[in-house]
């Protein structure tokens, strides 16, 4: 059976070349990168080379990068670290309503610690409301965190505009680029942000390595204190193989992004077009144009996402869904909710996030299988002919 992995916003297949670069640092040269003898010095050099590669990718200087254990840590670090470093100036933080958990949850924690957090709403395409953002700005606004691209619906946010608005009150802007890197160009000077997070495993690198860019001169309080690693801003024995892998993954993105981008967008355009032709009551979620290449997200009416996902998996097609049942927290996607989708539609949400590994045949296979699976599940559905009795059902209490 053909296998088509389309869950690339959850994680990606490690590039063989990346693993090859990591390999020597598992056993051959396993030393601590702080040790002064030759094996340690080599580990140090490998770490610094990786830092240069990540810096080059985003157009930063190596000293502006702090390695972390991943995107979640980088986002937590940015939120808390920038909030507390600017606590004297004010206590107001702005984040969008469609941020990843690793932004919204630390933001909620900060709320309990005396910060005030404003959530910027989005339109039905998931684009933030810049007018709302502008009106929300105050003297005390110290930090604005808006993702560059949304992993669930692929929508790209107008970060440059956010930076312009932020500068009026001198607020620091962080942007979560975990979903964006490897799929679109990301340059810190063009974006104008003060801080930016990324995670290797989303662009064919290893799990366990991410980075936070913090613009020179911008102060940040550590999240994880330790020794003098990362200039005293992030303690802990460096995960040398993972950092080396992050560096190599960054190099591959830098060298291949133009091809990858057009390849991804060709494939996803074909996928979206074909599925929309073949399946009725199928709605593209997210912005139709301002979206990540390779990103195809839909709502399939009348059926539920986990069932759809598992039936597709049975045919070797791996996707994700924002349905209540798929979420282990048993909560329907807050992103789709923020975009105005009612919960019964969110149950049928499905995400196909392509990678550089996918090809035309993959798309053909999905286009032939997907409609069958949808039909099959609609056969089982009491709503096959359409939603009915919808007024009967109230809001959903948490399970």
């Amino acid at each position: 059976m053909r296998e088509v992995y389309l869950d690339n916003m959850a994680t990606t297949l490690l590039d063989e070349r990346v693993l090859e670069k990591m390999w020597p640092y598992f056993r051959e040269n396993f030393a601590n990168a702080l040790s002064p003898y030759p094996m340690g010095v080599k580990a140090r050099e490998a770490v610094e080379l990786a830092r240069e590669e990540v810096a080059k990718l985003i157009g930063a200087s190596p000293s502006e990068l702090i390695f972390t254990s991943g995107g979640t840590e980088a986002n937590n670090f940015a939120l808390r670290g920038l909030a507390y470093a600017n606590r004297k100036k004010g206590n107001h933080i702005i984040v969008s309503a469609v941020e990843h958990h690793s932004i919204t949850n630390p933001a909620r924690a900060l709320e309990k610690e005396g910060f005030e957090v404003t959530f910027v709403p989005v339109d039905r395409y998931g684009v933030i409301d810049l007018n709302f953002l502008e009106r929300a700005l105050r003297e005390e606004t110290i930090l604005i965190s808006i993702q560059l691209a949304n992993p669930e619906v692929g929508t790209i946010q107008p970060i440059e505009e956010v930076v312009k608005l932020a500068s009026k009150v001198g607020a620091v802007v962080h942007t979560d680029c975990v979903a964006a890197i490897g799929r679109m160009e990301v340059k810190v000077d063009k974006l104008g942000v003060h801080s930016l997070s990324l995670s290797a495993h989303i662009f064919y690198g290893p799990k366990g390595a991410g980075a936070l860019y913090v613009k020179r001169g911008v102060r940040i309080q550590p999240l994880i204190y330790g020794g003098i690693q990362e200039g005293g801003r992030r303690g802990g024995t460096e995960n040398v193989p993972a950092i080396v892998g992050l560096g190599e993954a960054a190099r591959l993105v830098r060298e291949n992004l133009p091809q990858w981008k057009s390849h991804l967008s060709d494939l996803s355009m074909k996928l979206i077009k074909n599925l929309q032709e073949k399946v009725e009551h199928l709605h593209l979620t997210g912005h139709p144009e301002k979206r990540l290449p390779g990103h195809a997200s839909f709502i399939v009416e009348f059926i539920e996402g986990e069932a759809l996902l598992l039936m597709l998996a049975h045919r070797g097609i791996y996707v994700s869904s924002g349905s209540t049942c798929t979420s282990k927290a048993l909560k329907a996607s807050p992103v789709l909710s923020a975009m105005g989708y009612p919960a019964h539609l969110i149950q049928g949400s499905i995400l196909m996030a392509l990678s550089k590994y996918n090809n035309e045949e993959d798309i053909d296979y999905v286009v032939s299988e997907f409609p069958q699976v949808v039909s099959r599940l609609r056969e089982l559905s009491p709503f096959k002919e359409g939603w009915k009795d919808m007024d009967k059902w109230g809001a959903c209490a948490p399970h």
């Binding site: 069932a307 049942c325 009491p382 399970h399």
Partner: protein
């Protein structure tokens, strides 16, 4: 995550469909929450002669619907009413903890279908 049995019933559910002239219909769940079950029964001599379902929901909800219909088909109403969620879980090889509520859904839909039959019969 799911037992073999759950996956079998999910992939090849039994007794799918509607019974246009059903003697009782049980509707349980809420599409807003992600799971919704319609059960249709045909009753003869206080026995469930036929039973069919339509379910909107996850693999567990569909599998529970399928196995439940198999378990009660041909049974007396009293036997059907004594079915518990534990019986279903046992038969289906267990469910992940966050999916156990699907078995409750089935029990409730069945009760409602039988109640509906009784109410209709009483009304005649």
């Amino acid at each position: 995550m799911y037992s073999q049995k759950v996956m079998e019933h999910f992939m090849n559910p039994k007794n799918v469909g509607e019974i246009p002239d059903a003697d009782g219909i049980g509707i349980e769940g809420n599409p807003v929450c992600g799971d919704m079950m319609y059960l249709f029964i045909k009753v003869k001599d206080d026995r469930i002669e036929d039973i069919k379902f339509k379910t909107f929901g996850c693999a567990a909800a569909i599998a529970v619907s399928s196995i439940l219909t198999e378990m009660v088909k041909g049974k007396s109403l009293q036997e059907a009413l004594s079915l518990t969620k534990e019986d279903i879980l046992r038969e289906i090889g267990g469910l992940p903890s966050q999916k156990v509520h699907c078995s409750v859904l089935g029990i409730e839909a069945l009760r409602k279908a039988i109640d509906d039959f009784k109410a209709k019969k009483g009304a005649k």
